[in-house]
């Protein structure tokens, strides 16, 4: 039989036991049969010698030294860069503050950036500066009445103040006066004479309201001017009736209004 020798071991068995033989774990009768087979079989002897040489070559190789930054790169790519894809769950926070932080962190993640913090800081600084210029101080807050009645009162006070400020503005007052004059100048003389004709028919003891107003108007102080300054707008009593002179004045007023509008625009 091919491959079978006097030791009773076949070549295939030698090959099967070769690894153990080289490891030194082959003992007893198996080791004796293995060595006896090699004495009579040149091919198996060569095979054993080659395998032994190859094992020595391989075991003589030194361990390769990993790059210095290998561990750092691995940690950066796992713990540093892949927290969301981490198969391991993150440790659960124990206190309620930690739980709240853990819950809010993903929400504020987009704005929790240095750029946003800088923008927010600049905006806060600008608003604070503007409030300071406007005369608003944070210390005034404690004097505020925050009840519903107080809020409404504050609202109406503020509204009245704004309206008063607007109406007392010199420019607004001038525009209103000129528009009023223009209307009166453009009104036909018949419309103006009619009240004069009807006037004798009325009771002198009960003059019409328009007449009363006309009488009272010169006494009404003009808030937009100080004493001694010329009046910016003529009162209704000072506007003459429809005359050529009035028409010229009307056209002059229209021209002035146009110029005023252009200046405003």
């Amino acid at each position: 039989m091919a491959g079978e020798f006097q030791s009773g071991m076949q070549c295939a068995e030698v090959e099967a036991l070769l690894a153990e033989a080289l490891d030194g774990t082959l003992q007893g009768s198996q080791l004796a049969a293995f060595e006896a087979h090699q004495q009579g079989c040149a091919s198996c002897r060569t095979m054993v010698e080659e395998a032994q040489a190859g094992m020595h070559w391989l075991k003589g190789l030194d361990e390769a030294e990993p790059p210095r930054n290998l561990v750092h790169n691995i940690l950066a790519q796992t713990i540093g860069a892949l927290p969301s894809e981490h198969a391991m769950p993150a440790p659960r926070p124990e206190g309620w503050v930690e739980k709240l932080k853990a819950r809010l962190a993903p929400i504020f993640a987009p704005v929790a950036t240095p750029r946003f913090a800088m923008s927010f800081g600049m905006a806060f600084f600008s608003i604070t500066m503007l409030l300071g210029i406007a005369g608003f101080h944070m210390s005034d807050l404690r004097h505020w009445d925050l009840s519903s009645h107080g809020v409404m009162k504050t609202y109406y006070d503020t509204q009245a103040r704004i309206i008063r400020y607007y109406e007392n503005m010199r420019l607004v007052y001038e525009i209103e006066s000129r528009v009023h004059d223009l209307k009166r100048a453009a009104t036909p003389a018949t419309n103006q004479q009619q009240p004069q004709q009807e006037a004798p028919a009325t009771n002198p003891k009960n003059p019409p309201k328009s007449e009363l107003r006309r009488d009272n108007q010169p006494q009404t102080p003009n808030h937009s001017q100080a004493q001694g300054q010329p009046k910016l707008a003529a009162s209704a009593a000072m506007v003459p009736a429809e005359t050529p002179q009035a028409r010229r004045q009307g056209s002059h007023l229209v021209t002035s209004m146009g110029a005023l509008n252009r200046r405003l625009v």
Binding site: E50, G54, M55, H56, W57, L61, T78, A90
Partner: protein, 199 residues
């Protein structure tokens, strides 16, 4: 507590989210995984990239490690080997078929494989002392087929026993031994033939 229990405890800590435990695992196993990748791919740069990929894969699949089925070392080696095989199948690390006249590392002014084998001291122990001889064996190892290469790497360089190698390679123990024998024999023949040509 033996080594296996200590490693299993480390893995449990890691799965529960302990970053320090993961760092410890990386510190313990990076050298071993790097060496497997280096001897299999033959290139330090490829080995570094492959080692990082192995750890990323481990990081993502660590929770699937079953302590009752295999030791952590076997699991780590299996992950490494599977990733190497995947890369090999993609053709990235194809079998090198350099001729004996080719210089290692494609250096034009370097010594050929036959020239490097020419040594005044013929004993393997003496030759292995030199850095050039180390490169020579490394180049010869790269020329083995992947099946034989991985078997001898796991046995002769990583000192895994046959049972663990059989688990890693998913083949019977007899096949493992046969591959190891053939791998060693082929490597020795390759080096001896080169040496004869040089002399």
């Amino acid at each position: 507590m033996d080594d296996n229990q200590a490693v299993n405890a480390l893995v449990r800590r890691c799965v529960s989210g302990d970053a320090a435990a993961w760092q410890e695992i990386v510190q313990q196993y990076n050298r071993r995984i790097y060496n497997i990748c280096y001897r299999f791919s033959g290139s330090p740069d490829d080995a570094s990239d492959l080692t990082q990929e192995v750890f990323i894969k481990m990081y993502r699949t660590l929770s699937t490690f079953d302590t009752t089925r295999a030791s952590f070392m076997t699991w780590v080696t299996t992950v490494t080997r599977n990733l190497l095989v995947d890369h090999f199948r993609k053709g990235k690390y194809d079998r090198i078929t350099d001729s004996l006249d080719a210089t290692p590392g494609n250096q034009e002014d370097g010594l050929t494989l036959a020239e490097q084998l020419e040594d005044r001291n013929p004993s393997p122990e003496t030759r292995l002392r030199s850095q050039e001889t180390q490169k020579l064996v490394h180049e010869a190892l790269k020329r083995l087929s992947p099946e034989l290469r991985e078997a001898v790497i796991l046995r002769d360089l990583q000192d895994l026993d046959y049972k663990d190698i059989a688990k890693v390679l998913n083949v019977p123990e007899g096949t493992v031994k046969s591959r190891i024998n053939r791998g060693r024999t082929e490597l020795a023949r390759l080096l001896q033939r080169t040496y004869k040509q040089a002399s």
